[in-house]
Subunit: 209 residues, 2 copies
């Protein structure tokens, strides 16, 4: 039992170390030796838990996605209207991207299309499903235009958000991330809000700060 | 003179080979040996032209951006209205991404934030400037809402487009790229078109096929 706990602690330490190195260097340039050093474990201990760099990267992505979905679940559980929840989620993920090295590394690895043998699509699919549900709820609640295709809107928003955070990282190391996410909604909302809900725009934008 | 021409031919051959390898493996996993082999030159010849992998990557990005801007320049020179030009440019770049290995590799390297010592921002800046000009023209021509902030709209569109092509690559190796770009405009246009120009939506979407 104690041994199992210790193994889990070592595993978590390695994932944190890997996140540091992947976050800084990307997948291709990260070395196992650097990750072992950042985690403070021997290369032997590292290989015991993660036989390949690919598995290490997937462990970081899994842990990032677990944290992100946990935070998203807490927001969804508040039971706000669908559109308000979606806008709030975009801010919650932005704040995680600003503060949590595991989230920074996981998102970077997810967008690092070429590096992993199979591109990672699971987290995108979860976000697409979540966004589609919330947008559909937004249509039902009369906040969004009745003729909106919620599935299409979720594809556009998830992909656009992916680009917004990537470009923010490129230009400012994410210093302007919340402002850029806010601008995305400033541009999107007027075209998707139901015509009798345009006065909610200001309130929705207040959620992204 | 003949020697200079021959050197340029070798250089171009190397850039093509580098594009193949970078496009397939990303920056981090691409090796100089693979690139020399793909280009059909010796490692010595390769190092003579490009002393580092970083310089090779930047040469691919430069050549991609040159081709993209050349195609964009030809469209702009047709002198269509600003908004129509912008929508058309999004389709022209998509078609280059579908067919030209150098463009595929250059865009992938540009979005590979972590790999290069300095993230590449030049091509983004050129696109931001171009988009801002065209959107401003679109406002002046009465196609876009008079109260639009053209600079903000260009930031949102350039970042969103970056994400759309990245997610399309992840999910379908870009097979659905034109459809995804079309969806981006389907979502964006209703919120940015001037209210008396909403009937132009169908015509604009016809440009992205």
């Amino acid at each position: 039992m104690v041994k199992q706990v210790r193994a889990q602690v070592t595993r978590d330490t390695i994932v944190d170390g890997a996140a540091q190195v992947f976050g800084r260097r990307g997948y291709g340039l990260a070395s196992i030796a650097d990750i072992a050093q950042a985690a403070g474990v021997t290369k032997g201990a590292l290989y015991f838990h993660f036989p390949s760099k690919d598995e290490l990267a997937r462990a970081v992505i899994d842990e990032q996605h677990r944290r992100t979905m946990e935070a998203a679940g807490a927001v969804i559980a508040e039971g706000r209207p669908g559109l308000e929840t979606m806008v709030l989620l975009s801010a919650v993920l932005a704040r995680q991207l600003l503060t949590d090295p595991v989230v920074q590394a996981g998102i970077r690895l997810t967008t690092d299309v070429a590096s992993l043998d199979d591109p990672v699509t699971g987290p995108y699919r979860d976000w697409l499903r979540t966004a589609e549900q919330l947008f559909r709820q937004g249509v039902d609640e009369g906040d969004l235009r009745a003729d909106l295709d919620a599935a299409m809107l979720s594809r556009v928003v998830v992909a656009s958000y992916t680009g917004v955070q990537l470009v923010s990282e490129t230009f400012s190391h994410r210093a302007d991330l919340l402002q850029r996410v806010r601008e995305l909604w400033i541009v999107l909302l007027p075209g998707i809000l139901a015509s009798d809900r345009s006065e909610t725009l200001g309130h929705l934008l207040e959620l992204v700060r």
